[in-house]
Symmetry: C2
C-alpha cells in the first residue's frame, strides 16, 4: 500500500515539495494530498502589488499552476479545505470544507501554512476601506478598489510590500502617503543612509513619506475609513492598506505540539524535519539558518519557500537534500529605482555582536558617459580584521539591483571583501565602468576592515 | 635622489600603474615618466564603437584623463613620444618625438605597449576606405566617415569589436554586412548554439551575417575600396572595417630581449614582473594566468589591463599585490540583445583536455508574466564528476548579460554548479523568476556532471 503524504498549505513551499516528491516517487508508492484553505494553489504573492497597479493585467498570471494541473500530475490538491487540527499521535488531520468535516490520516505530514498579515489592535482596523495585501483574494479586492479611483490612500508600513503598494497606487493616480513608525523606510534591509535615497525618490515621484509615526487609530466617517491617525497628526484617506509585515501561521502547529523555534516559527533541521517524527515544515511558517549570523531566522521570501519546499520534497521523495541556509537576499523597485540587499545591515551586524565596518560608494550603472547611465550607490558591510562580507545594499537605476547577486554569491562562498574587489566581472560601457561599482565598494570595505 | 619609473604606453595598464605608484610614493621618492606614442593617454577603447555609432557624442568622453591632469598629479605623461628601443643593460630607452631623439634612463621600467589591430596580408588592404578600429584616431576617422553616410559597409570579423562596429553602422543607417571565416560569430566566447541566437538577432535587425568566408582580397574601383572578395562570393562596400582581433605589441620587448611567454605576449609573474630585472609588464601586451585552464593567456580586455596595471603600480609603489588571474569575463550587446560569457566554452574546455558537460536553458529576464520580460538563454559548462564550473554564456534581453558576474563570482570562489543552484539570489517579478535562470542552468549542469 502506498504511503500517504499530507501537505497543509498549497502555496510555494507546499507545492514545490509535492511536485518534487511526485517527480521522485510514483503515485502507487506515495499518495500526495494537499489541503489549501483558499481558492488558489501555487500563486505569486510577490506579483500582487503589480497586479494592483495594473502592470499585470491578467489575474491568472498570478497563479503559477491550477489545482487541475496538479491533479493531472498525480497530486491531489484540494482547495477550500481548511485543516483545523493535527493529531500527532494518531497521525491524522481534521479538515473542514463545504461538505463538512473529515479526518484524514497521514504517514508524512508537511506543515506549509505560510504566514498571515499582521493586524495589530489599532482602533478602527475593521472599518470598511482598511485592507491588507497577502492573499490573491486581497489582491483582487484591492485591484477592484483602485479601478474605482479612490482619491487618497494611506499605506501603513514602510517595508517592501508597503513601498510596492504605494508605487502601485501612485501608478494609477491615487494621492498616496506612506506612514511608518520607523525612522526610515525599509529599515530591516537598508541602513538609514541608503534608505534616504529611496524615500527621496518616492517623494520626487509624488508619494508622501511620513516616518516616525506610530498609528494607533484609524479615523472613521459614517462607518467608513476617513483617515489614519485620530489626533492632529492625521492623514485623510479613502483607502488604507496595512503593510505591517506578516507572522508565521503557527496556530495549528502550536496546538498540536509541533515545537517552535526562538523566532516563533516552526523549528526545522537542515532537512526540513521538525522535532516531531513524520512531520516536516517549509516556507514562511518555518525557520531557516542564516549563513552570516549563524542564527535561526524566519524570513517570508518566495525564494526561501521554494528552496525549502524543494528540499523537503527531495527528502520526502527518498533523496537526501540539505537546505543550505539563507542570506536574506531581496530586491524591489520604486519607479525605476532599484533597491536590493543581502545579509546584514550595518546595524544588524552590530546587533548580532559582530564588529562591522562599512563602505558606501557612489558610482553609476554604466560608464559615466553612456547615455543610459544612472547613479548607483553601493554599501558593503564587512567584518573588522577578517574582511568577511556580512552584507550589502544597492540603490540605483536600471541594472543596479541585480548586482546584489554578486555580493550574495561572494558571501555564499565566503569570499572576503578584498578578494571580491579583484574578481573578473564583466565590463563594457553600456553595462558598467571598468571597475564595477561592486568592486569599488568591496575594495573600500576590505581596506577599512583590514586597516 | 629619486628613483625613476619609465612607463612605455599611456593607456589603461600604464596609467593605472602610474597612478597607483604615485598614490603610494611621493614625487621626490619616485619620478614617473610615461611615453605615449599617440596624442592620448588613458582612453576608453571599449567606448569607440559607441562613439562611431553616435550614442556617445563627445569625443572627450573617450578620454578618461588628459596628459595635463596626470601632470597635475605628478606624473610626467608625454604624448607623441615613441619609444624605439630599450637597452636593458644600460637601463635606458630611446625615445623619438617632434624635437628629435633622446635616451632616458630608468630604474624601473613598465612595458605597457598594449596591442595593435591585426592586418593580415590581404590583397587590397591598403586601399582607401579600408580601416581598423583600435586607437582614438581610428575612432575619430570612422566617426567622420559614417557621418558622410556611406551606403554599404562590410565588417570583416565576427568578434566583439566586429559586432559592435556593425551595430554602430546599422544604427546610423548604413547597409552593413559582417563577414567572418568562422562558422559562427563570437566563436571565441560562445558555443555555436549560443552564437546562433546572436546572428539571428543581427539578421532581424537588418545586418547581413556571412559566415565561413575567408577574405583573401579586397576589390578596388578607381583606387578606392569597392568591396570585399574578388571572386563570385563578393560583397560590395564603400567602407570596410577589418576587425580581426589584435596582437600584443611586443616588437620592442622582443628586440630588447625581454622574454615572451607561450602566447607570444610578455611573460610575467603574479606581481607583473618580467623575467628581466627591473622590468615589469601589464595590459594587452602581457600574459595573465587563466584561473580555469591554469594556462597563461593573452586577453585584450580593459578589465584585465586595469587590474594588472594596478597590481604593477602597487608593487612599484612599495606594496605587495598579486594578480589573481582571469576568467575572461566579457559582455557586449547588439541592439537590446545582451551577450556575455566567462571561463571556457564547451569546445574550449574539451580543447584544454577537460571533461566537460553543458546545460543550456531557456528562461526569461523577469517573471514570465512581467510586461518587460524578455527571453534569456543561459549555458553553463561544468566538469564531469566534480561539477566544477568551467564557464558560462548568456544571451538575452535587458538585464540578462550582467548575470554572468554571478557565474564569474562562483567560478572565482570554486563554488560548484550544484551549489550555485541553491544560492540565495534576489527575486521579485520585475527582475527574475523565483529561481533565477542562473540557478536553473547551474542545477542542470550540476546534475549532468554528477550523474
Amino acid at each position: 500500500m502506498a504511503e500517504r503524504l499530507v501537505v497543509i498549505g498549497g502555496d510555494a513551499a507546499g507545492m514545490s515539495a509535492a511536485s518534487q516528491a511526485r517527480r521522485m516517487r510514483r503515485a502507487d508508492d506515495l499518495e500526495i494530498i494537499v489541503f489549501e484553505q483558499s481558492a488558489y494553489v501555487s500563486y505569486s504573492a510577490c506579483g500582487e502589488p503589480y497586479f494592483v497597479g495594473g502592470w499585470i493585467e491578467d489575474f491568472g498570471d498570478l497563479q503559477v499552476r491550477t489545482p487541475e494541473q496538479f491533479q493531472a500530475r498525480g497530486i491531489d490538491a484540494r482547495i477550500h479545505h481548511q485543516v483545523t487540527g493535527i493529531d500527532l499521535d494518531a497521525r491524522r488531520v481534521t479538515v473542514q470544507h463545504s461538505g463538512g468535516e473529515e479526518t484524514v490520516g497521514y504517514d508524512q505530514l508537511l506543515y506549509a501554512t505560510g504566514a498571515t498579515a499582521i493586524r495589530p489592535p489599532i482602533q478602527g482596523i475593521d472599518l470598511e476601506g482598511v485592507h491588507t495585501l497577502r492573499t490573491l483574494d486581497d489582491a483582487a479586492r484591492l485591484r477592484s478598489l483602485v479601478t474605482s479611483r479612490p482619491e487618497r490612500a494611506v499605506v501603513v508600513g514602510g517595508g517592501y510590500i508597503g513601498l510596492e503598494i504605494a508605487e502601485a497606487f501612485e501608478h494609477v493616480g491615487i494621492h498616496t502617503t506612506v506612514v511608518t513608525m520607523m525612522p526610515t523606510v525599509l529599515e530591516r534591509t537598508l541602513d538609514p543612509d541608503m534608505a534616504e535615497l529611496v524615500s527621496d525618490r518616492m517623494r520626487s515621484m509624488g508619494i508622501h513619506v511620513e516616518t516616525g509615526i506610530k498609528v494607533e487609530c484609524i479615523a472613521a466617517n459614517a462607518g467608513r475609513v476617513a483617515g489614519v491617525g485620530c489626533d492632529d497628526r492625521s492623514f485623510p484617506a479613502d483607502l488604507v492598506v496595512l503593510a505591517l509585515g506578516s507572522r508565521p501561521h503557527v496556530d495549528l502547529a502550536k496546538a498540536a505540539g509541533i515545537p517552535l523555534g526562538p523566532t516563533g516559527a516552526v523549528a526545522v533541521d537542515d532537512h526540513q524535519r521538525t522535532e516531531t517524527d513524520g512531520v516536516w515544515s517549509a516556507g514562511d511558517c518555518a525557520e531557516a539558518h542564516h549563513r552570516i549570523s549563524g542564527q535561526p531566522v524566519n524570513l517570508h521570501l518566495g525564494t526561501v519557500a521554494n528552496k525549502a519546499g524543494r528540499v523537503a520534497g527531495i527528502n520526502l521523495g527518498g533523496g537526501d537534500a540539505t537546505f543550505p541556509g539563507v542570506l536574506g537576499t531581496a530586491i524591489t523597485k520604486v519607479g525605476d529605482l532599484e533597491i536590493s540587499s543581502t545579509g546584514l545591515t550595518e546595524w544588524q551586524a552590530a546587533e548580532a555582536g559582530l564588529k562591522a565596518v562599512a563602505a558606501r560608494i557612489k558610482s553609476s550603472t554604466a560608464a559615466h558617459y553612456w547615455p543610459g547611465s544612472s547613479p548607483m550607490t553601493v554599501k558593503a558591510v564587512a567584518e573588522r580584521d577578517t574582511a568577511r562580507l556580512l552584507g550589502a545594499q544597492i540603490v540605483g537605476g536600471p541594472g543596479a539591483g541585480k548586482r546584489i547577486d554578486i555580493f550574495a554569491t561572494a558571501m555564499w562562498s565566503e569570499l572576503p571583501a578584498h578578494e571580491l574587489a579583484w574578481t573578473d566581472l564583466s565590463y563594457a560601457p553600456p553595462f558598467s565602468g571598468v571597475w564595477d561599482p561592486v568592486h569599488i565598494a568591496a575594495r573600500k570595505a576590505g581596506e577599512r576592515a583590514l586597516s
